[in-house]
Symmetry: C2
Subunit: 191 residues, 2 copies
Amino acid sequence: MKPKDQNKVEAVYKAMLVLVRQRGLAGITMAEVAREAKMATGTLYIYFKNKESLVAALTDKCVQHMAGGLFKDYNADNDFKTGFQKIWMNIVRHRIAFFNESLFIEQSFHSPFLNDEIRLALKKNFDPLILLLQRGKDEKTIKDIDSFWMLAFIIGGINEIARRVNYFNKKASQQVLETNFQMCWDGIKAT
Amino acid sequence: MKPKDQNKVEAVYKAMLVLVRQRGLAGITMAEVAREAKMATGTLYIYFKNKESLVAALTDKCVQHMAGGLFKDYNADNDFKTGFQKIWMNIVRHRIAFFNESLFIEQSFHSPFLNDEIRLALKKNFDPLILLLQRGKDEKTIKDIDSFWMLAFIIGGINEIARRVNYFNKKASQQVLETNFQMCWDGIKAT
DNA sequence: GTTTTAAGTGAATAATAATTCATTTAATTT
DNA sequence: AAATTAAATGAATTATTATTCACTTAAAAC
């Protein structure tokens, strides 16, 4: 028997991300996705039951991916600022490199497809970061501000960097990232 | 002759914003928009040539709206921080109150519809703010950081506040806004 | 109050897009 | 190397959605 070509699933995901970036979830058809992924329309339906489950599967994958790597190279023994900077850099680099994925999540968030389970998973991504912030507050290293809003401040800035790198075709050099981190840090550090 | 009911255009815009918030640009049909706006499908086509021009018209309107009010109650005689805070508050309040409009712009940004003219108009919105930042840098009140990135820092934080207010149904009290402004200010102020 | 004109209606039609399926292709097994 | 099995194909079908249009309604002109 002829085995399933597992590369195809990846090819479909990649095609979706490219097309959604270009035209939005509103603007793509299964035929286009198949063409972009270099396969026949019918083949799509061997790997995915229908459009809805394709969107759901990719959303899930992107959400998973976003969670992994958050604490990469993080060392709990480091002082708070060092650890926080590590994580900040991890997030910003991920958001820049996988901007299409953030975008896709964002779009599927506002679609007839997405369910509450995925919404919750998205929020849970940041639980470890909230714990870290608590440590910083306990040590009086950072301001005593509700983590919900402090996280908004941190993540908002990061998101906008990724947006601008992608929309305005800017390069975010190490220099630029460090400058941006400095603004973030000065914003949250205890006074 | 029977005159056009100009309220209908507004009703259609409102319906679009409500539905796009719920289901995304991908998930709405002209029939649904008409139903939500309490009119027959055919009536939509009296006011808008087709779906594309409806999306374009609403995007344009939202972009215009976002620009107005940025400098409301701003007094150039005030010291830099006072003036900046005024504008920061204007933006954050607008983004919260008209979150559906930001969302719609965002979605139409990634659609087969949007043109470069609108993209440019969006960017130009912030030109006056960039000028203001320059003043702050000249006076050495704020850090000497490229306005492009400083604006990313400022606007990113604001956007995320608006998102969280809307998605997590949080109330952004004056207290919360002031705390958030403080983080932003500490981030950009000269050290 | 009759005529005229354009708005408003919603079922009918046209266009587009999702999904299926008869057929072909290519691994694997015997 | 023939038989078997499931993947792959893409045209045909079905479903959905945009758009039109013959008709109705209501305001304005006369």
